[in-house]
Amino acid sequence: MFNIGTRKNEKKVSDANREAFAELYEQFMPKVYRYVTFRIRDEHMAQDLTAAVFEKAFAKFDGFNPQKASFSTWIFTIARNTVIDHYRVYRKHEDVVSDVEAKATAQYPSPEEEAIRAENTRKLRQFVSQLNKREQEAIVLKYSNGMSNREIAQILNLTESNVGSILCRTIRKLRKSFLEWQNE
């Protein structure tokens, strides 16, 4: 569909690619942004990284082969690598989103409840950031966009049942860590 061009109709195919990309942008940009904001604390940085994801995707789009992978798998692989590169550069492994906490706590009436909620969120984020890479990815993909286990499996190159096991195990692990921290 996307890459069928001969030299003669190169321009025509390229234009078709651009139109296809524009449609996919509308569909996937919010999803990619949600994925990035799950992992990056700073909103402006999350915007920059989302922009970087789509710039890379646009630059490589002529090489995208839908026979090999779905666009979802392809774009989330780029997003994942972009976030990994970001952490590699900044060497930040803890991604606590302070202003998400602020917004999330706004519904709590008393300052005390707000403070407890913010602290719980901060701690839970810390526990998530301490998970191994595979567990983190499964959690982020599941909770940032409500992806099915099959979609996550395609992106992480795992089997669907593997993803299910990882999610169950990870949720229980988080629950255990959280409970231990609360009982300290």
Binding site: Y33, T50, E55, N145, L179
Partner: protein
């Protein structure tokens, strides 16, 4: 299916619902651990943010600008494809060949005329 597998299946189904923002069924039938796990699921589902309309539009405009720039670069590298295609049209090529033949015939005629004069 053993008890642990059943619990895992139930947990996964409820995780999917929580992650998709769906309302969960009556939780009183769930065991304590599953309820607690779902509490964390709901919390994590609230973390990601949707992009603002401004950011979405701005990024789209930036990418569109990039497309236009790329098209300009392509044109300057390869020449105007419309112009190249025009030159390749058979009617145009036939006209040029006809004019060429006419000029050559005129020159020959002129030479023959001058020689015989």
């Amino acid at each position: 299916m053993n008890k642990k597998q059943q619990k895992d299946k139930q947990l996964l189904e409820n995780i999917d619902k929580a992650a998709a923002g769906e309302k969960l069924p009556d939780e009183s039938g769930l065991d304590k651990d599953t309820r607690a796990a779902l509490e964390l699921s709901r919390e994590m589902s609230s973390w990601p943010k949707s992009p603002s309309k401004e950011f979405k539009a701005q990024l789209k405009a930036d990418l569109t600008h990039r497309v236009v720039e790329q098209q300009k670069q392509d044109l300057s590298k390869r020449g105007d494809p419309e112009y190249r295609n025009f030159l390749r049209r058979p009617a145009w090529q036939f006209t040029i060949a006809g004019f060429g033949a006419l000029i050559i015939a005129a020159i020959i005629f002129l030479i023959v005329y001058l020689v015989n004069r």
